[in-house]
């Protein structure tokens, strides 16, 4: 069942916008966001340029058993990579099943 987009029911990651900056995980009062990332050298720099690295997101998970839907992560994200969605969060039969891997860890 879906409802108007303004409904605050489910927080979703817009993966291409995420820079793994950790701000959402640090601002979350209930500690429900887990982020794993690594850095990679940026390829294709002009010759003589200083080496640069960028963050690559490896895992982004929200534990719906801890989340209290306060939306602080949505507000704080400087890259608008988190948004409210009107759908309900996926159900689970036990607490561990409520961890939603929005970007699953590499196997």
């Amino acid at each position: 069942m879906s409802s108007p987009e303004s409904a605050h029911r489910w927080i979703q990651l817009i993966e291409p916008a995420c820079t793994s900056c950790m701000i959402c995980a640090r601002e979350c009062p209930s500690w429900c966001i887990t982020i794993d990332s690594h850095t990679e050298p940026v390829a294709g720099l002009p010759a003589g340029a200083r080496d640069r690295t960028r963050n690559v997101l490896d895992r982004f998970a929200i534990d719906w058993s801890l989340c209290m839907y306060c939306g602080i992560c949505v507000e704080e994200c400087p890259y608008d990579a988190l948004e409210w969605v009107g759908d309900l969060t996926p159900p689970g039969s036990r607490a561990g099943a409520l961890v939603e891997e929005m970007v699953p860890p590499p196997s």
Binding site: E27, W31, D58
Partner: protein, 198 residues
């Protein structure tokens, strides 16, 4: 007198508190608005009790009373004999800040009877969290490579709000005296902490 939110604040000594509230009520301020408590840690070793009363009949500005109580023995007279509704506000301030309202209602309002602590004092530590892994502790550059000494390894370490620097609270030198409440409160703000060098 100081100003708060555009209102004139009347500063009262704790021994004059009840008399001041009675005088305001006698002066036509029959409507009790609210009573609250503020932890003044970092500015002074006090709690501030604030009380707001209004005169509904003439619609004048509300009167704001403020009283500083020493942190080590916060005691003030209850005004529930003047405004019965103030008892609820006093119960809340009493359990959340550990302030004693002499002659007030002693039952708890919000917390479980077995709960120990004063949750709204700023030096109150979220003890259960000191033993948990905080998901925000890691820096992107260091993940999955503990031995790496990236740019961030020279940065200050991140700590979550409510969990103080271990050097101040918890994993500190037991032979030292307990940390000052203001230091505990300051170190539990969260963010990057200073590495203490001895």
């Amino acid at each position: 007198m100081i100003s708060w939110a555009g209102e004139i604040v009347i500063k009262v000594l704790s021994e004059n508190w009840l008399a001041a509230v009675e005088a305001l009520q006698a002066d036509g301020f029959h409507y009790f608005d609210w009573l609250g408590c503020v932890d003044e840690i970092g500015r002074s070793d006090h709690f501030r009790i604030v009380l707001v009363v209004r005169n509904i009949a003439d619609g004048a500005e509300p009167e704001v009373l403020s009283c500083l109580l020493p942190r080590d023995d916060p005691k003030i007279d209850s005004v529930r004999g003047v405004f019965a509704g103030a008892a609820w506000h006093e119960r809340e301030a009493a359990e959340l800040f550990g302030v004693e309202f002499v002659g007030g209602e002693r039952r708890r309002l919000l917390l479980n009877p077995e709960f120990e602590g004063t949750p709204l004092r700023k030096d109150e530590v979220l003890a259960a969290r000191t033993g948990m892994n905080w998901p925000g502790a890691e820096e992107p550059e260091e993940m999955g490579d503990p031995g790496k000494t990236g740019a961030s390894s020279s940065r200050r370490r991140m700590v979550p709000p409510g969990v103080p620097d271990p050097a101040v609270w918890g994993d500190r030198d037991a032979s030292q005296a307990a940390a000052d409440p203001a230091d505990v409160a300051e170190s539990a703000i969260g963010g990057r902490v200073r590495r203490r060098r001895t």
